[in-house]
């Protein structure tokens, strides 16, 4: 049987970061898609759109990073 604690730990760590990545990827691509569309419609507004895009991507990435931290804690603590 594969239900002992060690293999559950490995499974939990892998699943945690996998699901975090699964949630982050379409969100970041949606942000990038809309901001590139905005830049292409109005190239003069690039300097206003770019900081907002970078901020939004960092926020979204942070949520995936929370999942990564949990998986690291599961593995190493």
């Amino acid at each position: 049987m594969f239900m002992d604690a060690e293999s559950m730990k490995l499974l939990a760590a892998a699943l945690s970061v996998g699901m975090g990545a699964l949630a982050a990827a379409p969100s970041i691509s949606a942000i990038a898609r809309k901001s590139v569309e905005g830049i292409s419609r109005n190239p003069e507004a690039t300097s206003k759109i770019q900081p907002a895009m970078i901020l939004a991507i960092a926020f979204t990435e942070a949520i995936a990073i929370y999942a990564l931290v949990i998986s690291l804690i599961i593995l190493f603590v």
């Binding site: 300097s47 901020l55 960092a58 942070a62 990073i65 990564l68």
Partner: protein, 246 residues
């Protein structure tokens, strides 16, 4: 190949443990403070090349801030906190990517096991540093708000008893969101930099000759972006805390 979440203690001086991340964060603080002191001591109206370089950095940060805030005077008011946080985190991250971090160390025995203790470790890969930075940033936001509105004027944003029950709950939610900002600041920076260290460690263990090159460039870039995001978020929260609401 061990990966430890806590940074390893190198030596205990006078009862105070010196960890390997403390060494690097002290070095980056030393570089910033001593460098600025030496430049400011000999300021000239027509700048020398080194002074020109520092002026380019200061001007770039101030221009970026005034572009995002829209007001140059406000940017000058917030500049010390934001630029200090940005430069400190940037130098921490970039010093942690240099070769020698994580590889130069000693083999010690802890509890009967052979452990490798590196001398240098990226300063932001230690949760203590990032929590300290997050606390400083949020404390600065509160202090700027109190300085502008007065003690009771600023805290009436969180605890309002005169406008009805809905506004009371909105105030409590604002209080909780201030606390959650501390957690999100520290864990964003810690997660990014620690994951980068683990990635570099694993890649250098697997294929040490040419494969680490794109990963080192990635870590360089990620370090810059994380410093930028931390500083920009601090600036946004400062602006929100000091503007007259509604």
């Amino acid at each position: 190949m061990e990966i430890s979440l806590k940074s390893e203690v190198i030596k205990v001086i006078l009862g105070f443990p010196i960890t390997n991340s403390l060494i690097l964060s002290l070095s980056s603080a030393f570089i910033i403070i001593v460098g600025s002191f030496l430049i400011v001591r000999s300021l000239k109206l027509i700048p020398s090349k080194i002074q020109n370089g520092f002026e380019i950095i200061v001007e770039a940060i101030l221009d970026f801030m005034s572009q995002t805030l829209g007001d140059r005077e406000l940017a000058k008011k917030f500049f010390p906190v934001v630029a200090a946080i940005f430069l400190f985190i940037l130098l921490n991250n970039w010093l942690g990517v240099l070769p020698g971090t994580g590889s130069i160390g000693l083999n010690e025995t802890h509890n009967g096991k052979e452990v490798f203790v590196p001398f240098f470790r990226s300063a932001n890969s230690d949760l203590n540093t990032t929590i300290a930075l997050a606390l400083i940033a949020m404390a600065a936001v509160q202090i700027y708000g109190i300085k502008k509105f007065g003690f009771s004027g600023y805290f009436s944003k969180f605890i309002t008893l005169k406008k009805g029950p809905i506004y009371f709950f909105v105030g409590i939610l604002e209080l909780i969101s201030e606390l959650s900002k501390i957690i999100s600041f520290s864990f964003r920076l810690f997660g990014n930099i620690f994951a980068g260290e683990v990635l570099l460690l694993i890649v250098m263990n697997l294929a040490p000759l040419f494969a680490p090159f794109p990963f080192v460039i990635l870590e360089f870039f990620v370090g810059f972006i994380q410093a930028l995001v931390f500083a920009m978020l601090t600036m946004m929260f400062l602006k929100v805390a000091t503007e007259t609401a509604h």
